[in-house]
């Protein structure tokens, strides 16, 4: 007789191979479901239990999750674009044109990378405003707010460094102007400008430095900080829900006693 589809999944999860990979075991009990989160290297950063209400769209508008989603799209499309792009002065612009007109799906991947980048900047700001106006930045979540601010800066730096890589007129002058802004820093401005560009003008060294920053240093920094950011949500008491925050509850209790 035909088994229900759920039973097939259950059978797979009972196999020896599955059990050797996922140590937590199967079952619908609260314990098993908690273990499935807690014993997974990626999921253990997150809370084992979340209030059902906090998973609804209205609680968070999913802004943080959507930001992370755009980041994953950017990593995947970015790695694929790296397979055709050479960060050198004679080739960078030609490679960008090739991606646009010659490489199969190159246009799609490049546009996806670009629009996701725009979306990520927008979502990071939206997430920040949502957290701010809800008051979710307050104790005990202050440190996670600070991590978030650094992630905002990393996002903007990723946008800025990626801007130079097509090596067209817009890129060249945008980075000329942007790096000259850095030289307005008191005392060490010109040194920062020199180190950032690896020279006195936007040239081969600058292209390579921005490429390494864009593809290695800044993404790794972002991944490192995102891990702390997610882990601190759990450590600071889960997603912020005003009505069940300790401070709110204490205030309510004080009112009732009176």
């Amino acid at each position: 007789m035909a088994k229900p589809i759920a039973q097939y999944f259950e059978d797979v999860r009972e196999t020896r191979v599955w059990r050797s990979i996922f140590r937590s075991g199967t079952g619908a009990s609260t314990l098993h479901r908690a273990l499935a989160i807690q014993q997974n290297v990626f999921l253990h950063l997150l809370s084992t239990k979340v209030r059902r209400r906090m998973l609804s769209f209205s609680a968070t508008w999913y802004l943080g999750t959507l930001t992370f989603g755009t980041f994953l799209i950017l990593v995947v499309t970015g790695v694929l674009l790296m397979l055709y792009y050479h960060p050198s002065v004679p080739q960078a612009y030609a490679d960008t044109k090739d991606l646009q007109f010659v490489v199969s799906s190159g246009l799609f991947l490049r546009n996806l990378h670009r629009w996701s980048a725009h979306a990520m900047v927008f979502l990071v700001f939206a997430h920040m405003f949502k957290v701010f106006y809800r008051g979710a930045y307050r104790a005990p979540r202050e440190f996670n707010w600070v991590i978030g601010i650094i992630l905002l800066l990393v996002t903007l730096l990723l946008s800025y460094t990626g801007y130079l890589l097509p090596w067209d007129q817009l890129a060249f002058w945008a980075i000329t102007v942007g790096s000259n802004i850095a030289s307005a820093v008191p005392l060490m401005g010109n040194k920062i400008h020199f180190l950032l560009l690896g020279g006195n003008a936007v040239n081969a060294n600058a292209l390579l430095r921005f490429y390494v920053l864009h593809c290695m240093i800044l993404p790794l920094t972002a991944i490192f900080l995102i891990a702390i950011h997610f882990w601190r949500i759990r450590k600071d008491g889960g997603l912020y829900a005003h009505h069940s925050e300790p401070a709110t509850l204490r205030a309510q209790e004080a009112k009732e006693v009176r």
């Binding site: 002058w173 690896g198 006195n200 060294n205």
Partner: protein
């Protein structure tokens, strides 16, 4: 056996052996960290730059008509032939480094990026630019070519007569 502590009043003599080695270790790590910062800074500053030479050969003076302003886009300088003589201005805006352009109709130098305006002698008319466009050193080579050194600023109103 009781722990021995030598306190004979000399500076640093109140340290026991363990504290002494902890401080020695931390001090060494501090020195190593400072060294790493210094090495890192040196590594990130290129010692040799493969950039174009700052000295430009601008060709024969006769090729510049009287009262003309000529922009060399590649080197970012103006060659100006005025009644008083030849001079050269940097065409790089002193605001954020964009390349300015000569507007023959209005007789001014204007920056397309943020709207700074300069007179023909580099003096600032308006805009966010904080300083006038600097004058560059100009001289005649042995072959009679106009030469400009972009790396040397000179005082304004020093003309080269041919």
């Amino acid at each position: 056996m009781a722990e021995e502590k030598h306190t004979n009043g000399e500076p640093g003599a109140d340290l026991n052996r363990r504290e002494f080695f902890v401080r020695l270790g931390l001090g060494s790590l501090g020195i190593a960290a400072a060294g790493t910062v210094a090495f890192g800074y040196q590594f990130l500053s290129p010692n040799v730059l493969y950039e174009p030479s700052p000295i430009i050969n601008a060709g024969k003076p006769e090729s510049y008509a009287l009262d003309s302003v000529t922009l060399d886009v590649n080197s970012g300088i103006y060659i100006i032939h005025s009644k008083e003589g030849f001079f050269s201005l940097s065409a790089v805006c002193t605001h954020l480094g964009c390349l300015t352009a000569w507007k023959p109709d209005s007789g001014i130098i204007a920056c397309p990026c943020h709207g700074s305006k300069f007179k023909r002698d580099g003096e600032k008319i308006e805009g966010p630019a904080p300083r006038p466009l600097p004058w560059k050193r100009v001289w005649l080579s042995e072959d009679g070519d106009l030469m400009v050194d972009r790396s040397v600023d000179i005082r304004p109103m020093e003309f080269v007569r041919v």
